[in-house]
């Protein structure tokens, strides 16, 4: 008789052998060894240790629990909050439609209608997201948000120290430069994200327009 197949031996871990199988095993060392190895393998599988999730897993889960309002009293985080802030700053820096004050109230402004007026920003529906953003986009957005917080704080200090206003061309240019840099960094994390791409391109275009405006202006800027 040829050897028992591995599948047949695997079955014998759970079921009693037939008389023929039992007879074969009694006289076949190879099959007995295989059966013992299969048993060892199965025992080892049963004792595989637990695995540890990534340390940041709870923080990410917590964010989602908040978004789904599964945590009592939690308002859903706004994934597009930073994008709204970015939209406000781009609009402010590019044309002054909203004014500097809007940045302090990113939850309320700009409205999607105002953004829609600016074309490319509205195309991706800033502020209308229902589904949570993918992980890489969240990472990108967080980077934008953190960078902008830091920048706006520095901008406050700069304007207080120099007595300049938000409409000052140098301030606007600095703002746009910052947006270009931060959105470029965010794109490193989420290169295919259409929303961040839109902001980056818009910021680039407005920065170039501002540079042209400054270079053709008769008033000294710097």
């Amino acid at each position: 008789m040829s050897h028992l197949t591995l599948e047949a031996l695997a079955r014998l871990l759970d079921e009693a052998p037939s008389a023929e199988e039992e007879g074969h095993l009694a006289g076949c060392e190879v099959c007995r060894d295989e059966l013992a190895a299969l048993r060892g393998q199965t025992d080892a599988l049963a004792s595989l240790p637990k695995m540890v999730p990534a340390p940041e897993a709870w923080a990410e889960l917590r964010d989602r629990l908040e978004d789904e309002r599964l945590i009592a009293g939690a308002a859903p985080r706004r994934f597009y909050g930073p994008l709204r802030t970015a939209a406000a700053i781009v609009l402010f820096a590019g044309g002054g439609l909203l004014g500097y004050g809007v940045r302090g109230n990113a939850e309320d402004a700009p409205s999607t209608e105002v953004v829609a007026d600016r074309g490319v920003l509205a195309e991706n529906g800033a502020g209308t997201a229902v589904e949570p953003a993918p992980r890489e986009q969240q990472g990108g957005l967080r980077r934008v948000e953190e960078a902008q917080e830091a920048f706006l704080s520095a901008l406050d200090q700069y304007m207080a120290a120099t007595g300049t206003s938000p409409s000052d061309p140098a301030t606007r240019l600095a703002t746009l430069d910052n947006i270009v840099l931060t959105t470029a960094e965010a794109l490193n994390e989420a290169p295919a994200d259409p929303v961040i791409n839109s902001f980056h391109l818009t910021a680039l275009a407005q920065r170039n327009a501002m540079l042209r405006q400054i270079s053709t202006s008769s008033d000294p800027v710097f």
């Binding site: 695997a10 079955r11 060892g40 599988l45 240790p49 637990k50 897993a57 917590r62």
Partner: protein
């Protein structure tokens, strides 16, 4: 605080209770999801999805079974659903260390060999093997989860064990068996 109390509080949205349950069971949830997923990236997402589902469904948890059992089922279902969505049928081509289960004194190497061999199994076999031999579900339970007959689960399990044995068999051992079989024929 008792687990029943933690579950009750968590179902009311108590963040501290949710976190406590997470700390207690995250490794177990992650392990089953990771082994069913076959890779880390998917496992992270599916484990998170499992917890979201669990917390979402917690108000409907009646306590007919232990919370850990219930949660485990939620995790398995979440991973199985994730796997169906991901529509992946590839097997990884990583090399396996030549380690025979039971034939090494290094438990870490053995564990690594087993995990890597698991990753290399075809999807259908891995699911059944993980659910039965690692997680301890019965064929009836597996059949219910996978939507197949218990007999199908059994035959898949035997194939999976045999495949694992092949994957784990050291080259030398394989050659020895082949030579023996050839001489016997």
């Amino acid at each position: 605080m008792t687990e029943t109390e933690l579950v009750r509080r968590a179902s009311n949205g108590d963040e501290a209770a949710m976190h406590a349950l997470y700390r207690r069971y995250a490794p177990r949830v992650y392990a089953v999801v990771r082994r069913l997923a076959g890779d880390d990236a998917m496992a992270d997402d599916w484990a998170q999805e499992a917890w979201i589902r669990a917390f979402r469904a917690l108000p409907r948890f009646r306590g007919d079974s232990a919370f850990s059992t219930w949660l485990h089922r939620v995790a398995v279902n979440s991973a199985l659903q994730g796997r169906r969505k991901s529509n992946r049928h590839d097997t990884r081509e990583t090399d396996l260390p030549s380690v025979l289960p039971g034939g090494t004194s290094d438990p870490t190497m053995l564990r690594i060999s087993l995990e890597r061999a698991l990753e290399r199994l075809p999807d259908g076999m891995r699911k059944v093997l993980v659910l039965h031999d690692v997680e301890g579900f019965t064929h009836e339970e597996i059949g219910e989860m996978l939507g197949v007959a218990a007999g199908t689960s059994k035959s898949q399990l035997f194939k999976a064990r045999a495949k694992m044995r092949e994957l784990l068999r050291p080259l030398k051992d394989r050659e020895r068996v082949r030579a023996y079989v050839a001489s016997d024929a």
